[in-house]
Amino acid sequence: MLDFSRPTALPEALALLAEHRPLILAGGTDLFPATERAGLSGRVLSIDRIAGLCGITETDAGLRIGAATPWAEIARHPGPPGWAALAEAAVEVGGRQIQSRGTIGGNLCNASPAADGVPPLLALEAEVELASAQATRRLPLAEFLTGPRRTALQPGELMTAIHLPADALRDRSRFLKLGARSHLVISIAMVAVRVRVGAGRIAEAALAVGACGPVAARLPEVEAALIGASPAEAPDRIDPATVAAALAPLDDIRATAAYRGDAAAVLLRRALADLPDEGTT
């Protein structure tokens, strides 16, 4: 292949990928910062023009987000209530410049512990679609992210889409991020919550916390404690000790580990207290 290919059809991209294992370039917002050189090296496969890789479409099962969809498009998309957390995260991914080019699939494949896209997608029970020249498979996001900067993506595979189930998208959701400044900030901690309310009681809850461990995580024990509570009671059901026990934060320049545990519980409470009324979008 040429050093730079920019195919418009997926099969062509997958064939190049299978044969040459090029660097996959989408928005470039993680690849370029990783080098001080004037450009990328080696064979580069640009996936920003591939039909079906960009855009948000309704499916029978919910929503499909093309993996190369930039954050700006996600922020603009008027989704159902469950979409709110993802849209709120979208405007926190860098500044507008990053949101114009940085893609949701790139955010997941880069697998930073502080990736803004991960907590809302975990809370939404997202699945990722991975295609190779041979096959296409789907994985729950939690299985795709195997560690800090590590994923289940196999050589020759390309992430093609993220699928969000319709049920989760109907729920109320919220995303909150804490950082030391107001824009362009790597999170100290961030949370996404999704809550299903039936007959005035919480029937299902999904809580995800990012930047507080090697990978963002759901908090099943804390979620379980919310079942049966009224939405108003929910914040008080967040037990900081249970939250902290579910996380594995580190001390770093941005905060101490202990602080992160505390902050995650506070953010979860606030997100639950500040959930939009059901049905709003």
């Binding site: 001080e36 920003d48 400044r181 824009h183 100290i188 320049i253």
Partner: protein, 911 residues
């Protein structure tokens, strides 16, 4: 990156079809700049952290540094050069000039382009919309408020203000005279121009804070394709030691083993134009040595010495003693004591160090961003073994300096490579190099005690400060000497003893950063003042008013003050203070503890010019035979506005309008020495020289015309018209050319009258001081420790506001840096070497600022003016910390006040 055999790339640039033979994997920013298609597109980080390279691709703002050229094939690209229509500034560009939204101008293209995308969607945006749209572009100069104002006001058709009458330029809110180039992208900064065929220089830098190193086969590396030259310390022809303070000069241009700090340059490689500047495999082996990172441990008897002639790694002690502080503290009704710690702070100008150099006959010409052209010339000459007259420094536009561009960076390396190769060269630091190798604000550890009597009159202060000056001297001596003079704050302190040590470690070189150590000292003093006021049962502002200097008071240095403005500044805060306290009390009562609101105040004073040392400035002004008025303006404008302010002063002294002036320089070959842009000295010191030169030329004109003092001058068709009842016409072409090449000219110097300090720090260290006080309102989130600033009021006595628009810009910009110092900034070598781990305030982090300009004329200043540039940063951080304490009880003693530290302090306070 090579473009050999590169496929053709076509897109639309600013409405015109363009095509390049460019590697599609290359950064779009690199293509735009290297090809010359758009050098208005700036590069500040190559990582998407600063937004300076923002361009629109099909209408969407993107970082050109993160965009592969191949991805814009067929797209419409808009850069700053495409904003003006048919040679006329757009409304947005005019609004930037009208509001003073561009200072140094390096972020301006990115701001303008990002704002243009917003305005295309929302012609009259709200403040919040402007902030959201510009959150991705960092500015280090303006404090953002004027940028927000300009964007929100950009819908309006620009109407030029009437030009001030001759003699009325001083005091006018003039748009900066060098502004148009900053908003069109035409301004040329260090990285923006280079001679054809220039070699590209890259430095090999130490990966360790302290390490021995040995070179391998340099000749082999030098013979690689694309490598033109390899240089090491062995190639330095002159004295391989530079330093801003000659007796302390100790820093090598290229280190000999061992390297003393992480990022120190040890070798230089020149690459042929177009070659990939790849240092991979450079033949060097490193042996890491134990390093000193703690300035207390560095003073231990068995600690290894960084410099053999500085025992205990102690470089210098600054000292001031007056009265008997110990005894007075023992007798004081109240006393408080505290220890305070601040980290390395990075200047984080958006323009990394850059320049180019070449030979012009026998003369080495170095064109680079700098704050100190003549010092650069003299120090480069020493390092390169040349007489100073064979070195010419051509300062470029300076994309932010704040003190760090007083020190040499690229200049001696450029010069060395030119001398060794005979070829033109250029060099641009990467953001990582800039962070590693540039100077920093000194980390401080300060212990202080302050006492007062039963009525709240301050009786005494004891102050001991250790300042980590890093591996080399830089401005460490200045910090050690400035701190003792200023440690009392602008308050009567009859008994005082201050000791400030500058101590070497293997940290980055600490040098000058807006305030030279005074901001760190003010944190200790002003935080203790709040505790002392509480102890004495006094309102915190009243306590300060009670102790504020009055005319005739004596400073800790024994200097009797005149024209002291601090009382006026604090008094101006009385009304907002009272209201803010009431608002806070009401909010806290109503809110039930969800957010804790507080108010804080702090003051500053700051001596303008060098501390008890000469620092003259010289200004030349001339009229050509053709009737052109030329100002040789050698004071580098780093965004603060010297080009405008010095012209305003000279214009009024001469009596001709600002619009008649053409500026030359700075250029060491053409402008007399106006000294360095530091120590808040240009408006005052160079301003005095400009006033004297303008007045001298006026006297000469009046003498020729035999006219009285009140005569009115104007230029008309190569003649000078002098009206004094009668109208006289001086035909300039008819006059003989003077020694400076003019029909008429004048050159005048000014040096502040100071007196040396004795062993107890007694003397007259400065001829002029400026004063200020700031008040901060904020909220503390008691559950997260997160602080939200609500409002800042800043009252500064600048003697005379030569240009109120620019003065406000200084205040807002200094406040933004104070916010960073207080709340988020901490440089850690190896850990924060980029602009996403090293945080500076963004457009959402600076609250509304109300500036109150106090004009208490200084008898020594030009038209009464004092300096302002550094003063404005000093009160912000302590006012914030005092407001946090007022809101929540949290006492922060270690900066920055990151949320986890605030929360821990809250818990210590039992909240």
């Amino acid at each position: 990156m090579k473009d050999a055999a590169a496929p053709s790339l076509a897109f639309t640039l600013n409405g015109q079809p363009v095509s390049f033979d460019a590697d599609p994997r290359r950064r779009l920013s690199d293509l735009l700049r290297e090809s010359g298609a758009s050098r208005g597109t700036k590069v500040g980080c190559d990582a998407g952290d600063c937004g300076a390279c923002t361009v629109l691709v099909d209408g969407a703002p993107v970082c050109a540094c993160l965009t592969a050229c191949g991805q814009v094939e067929g797209a419409e690209v808009l850069t700053v050069e495409g904003l003006a229509e048919a040679g006329r500034l757009s409304r947005l560009q005019s609004a930037f000039l009208r509001h003073g939204a561009a200072q140094c101008g390096i972020c301006t293209p990115g701001m303008l382009v990002a704002a243009s995308a917003l305005l295309a969607d929302v012609p009259r945006p709200s403040e919040a919309q402007a902030q959201a749209a510009l959150g991705g572009v960092l500015c280090r100069c303006t404090g953002y408020r004027k940028i927000i104002a300009a964007v929100c006001d950009a819908w309006r058709e620009d109407v030029a203000d009437p030009a001030p009458e001759p003699g009325a330029a001083v005091g006018a809110r003039l748009r900066r005279l060098d502004g148009p180039d900053k908003v069109t992208g035409a301004e040329r900064f260090g990285a923006d121009d280079w001679p054809e065929s220039a070699l590209l220089l890259k430095a090999v830098r130490s990966p360790h804070p302290h390490a021995r190193f040995r070179f391998g086969d340099l000749a082999e590396f030098a013979s690689r394709p694309g490598v033109a030259v390899v240089l090491t310390a062995a190639d330095v022809p002159g004295r391989n030691r530079f330093g801003v303070i000659p007796p302390f000069a100790d820093q090598p241009a290229l280190a000999e083993s061992p390297a003393r700090f992480r990022g120190e340059a040890v070798a230089l490689v020149g690459f042929e134009p177009g070659a990939d500047p790849d240092l991979t495999g450079f033949p060097i082996s490193w042996e890491a040595l134990p390093d000193l990172s703690d300035p207390v441990a560095a003073q231990a008897e068995d600690a290894p010495l960084l410099h053999h002639d500085r025992p205990g790694n102690r470089m210098i002690r600054g000292y001031t003693r007056r009265g008997d502080a110990r005894a007075a503290l023992a007798d004081s009704a109240f006393s408080v004591e505290g220890c305070f710690e601040t980290p390395f702070i990075e200047h984080a100008y958006i323009e990394p160090e850059a320049g180019s150099a070449w030979l012009d006959g026998d003369t080495l010409v170095i064109r680079a961003c700098t704050q100190a052209p003549v010092m650069d010339r003299d120090d480069c000459a020493l390092v390169l073994g040349l007489p100073p007259e064979r070195v010419r420094i051509l300062p470029t536009g300076v994309g932010g300096g704040f003190g760090s561009k007083l020190d040499l960076s690229v200049q001696p390396l450029l010069g060395l490579a030119v001398l060794k190769t005979g070829r033109p060269v250029r060099m641009v630091y990467s953001r990582r190099e800039s962070l590693q190798a540039s100077t920093k604000r000194h980390p401080s550890r300060i212990t202080a005690r302050i006492g007062c009597d039963a009525e709240g009159h301050v009786t005494a202060m004891q102050f001991h400060g250790i300042f980590d000056t890093g591996a080399y001297a830089s401005w460490g001596p200045t910090v050690a000497n400035r701190v003792p003079v200023h440690a009392s704050g602008p308050y009567r302190t009859p008994n005082i003893e201050v000791e400030a040590w500058a101590v070497h470690t293997n940290g980055p070189v600490a040098g000058a950063f807006r305030g030279f150590g005074v901001p760190q000292a003010a944190i200790a003093q002003e935080l203790l003042y709040d505790r002392l006021a509480d102890a004495a049962g006094l309102d915190r502002l009243e306590f300060r008013l009670r102790n504020a200097f009055r005319d005739g008071d004596t400073t800790g240095s024994g200097q009797v003050l005149a024209a002291t403005g601090i009382h006026d500044c604090l008094s101006a805060l009385r009304e907002p203070w009272t209201k803010a306290l009431a608002d806070a009390a009401r909010a806290n009562a109503a809110d039930g503890g969800a957010a804790l609101r507080g108010v804080g105040v702090a003051s500053c004073w700051y001596g303008c010019g060098n501390t008890a040392l000469p620092n003259p400035s010289t200004i030349r002004v001339g009229l050509t035979a053709a009737g052109e008025l030329v100002l040789h303006q050698g004071a580098t404008d780093i965004g603060q506005g010297a080009n405008t302010v010095i012209t305003q002063i000279c214009a009024d002294a001469l009596g001709l309008p600002v619009s008649d002036f053409r500026r030359i320089g700075p250029d060491t070959a053409r402008t007399p020495d106006a000294g360095k842009t530091s120590a808040s000295r240009q408006t005052y010191v160079t301003g005095r020289a400009a006033a004297a030169a303008g007045a001298a030329l006026r006297r000469e004109v009046l003498r020729l015309a035999n006219a009285g003092d009140g005569a009115r001058l104007r230029l008309e068709d190569g003649a000078l018209i002098v009206e004094d009842g009668a109208v006289r016409r001086i035909e300039l072409a008819a006059l003989p050319e003077d020694a400076r090449g003019y029909a008429l000219s004048a050159e005048e110097s000014y040096d502040p009258p100071t007196q040396p300090l004795d062993a107890d720090g007694q003397g007259v260290p400065y001829a002029v001081y400026g004063y200020g006080a700031q008040m901060v309102e904020l909220e503390v989130d008691p559950a997260l420790g997160k602080v939200r600033l609500l409002n800042i009021v800043a009252a500064h006595d600048l003697g005379r506001a030569i240009n109120p628009l620019l003065a406000e810009g200084q205040i807002e910009g200094g406040i933004a840096q104070g916010i960073g110092l207080a709340m988020m900034e901490e440089y850690r070598p190896g850990r924060t070497e980029n602009l996403h781990d090293y945080l500076i305030p963004t457009i959402g982090d600076v609250p509304p600022v109300r500036s109150i300009l106090i004009e208490k004329p200084d008898p020594e200043g030009p038209f009464g003016a004092r300096g302002l540039g550094e003063h404005v940063l000093i009160p912000t951080a302590p006012a914030i910390l005092n407001a946090i304490r007022h809101a929540s009880g949290a006492e922060l003693t270690r900066l920055p006040a990151l949320p986890h530290r605030v929360l821990a302090a809250l818990r210590r306070a039992g909240k």
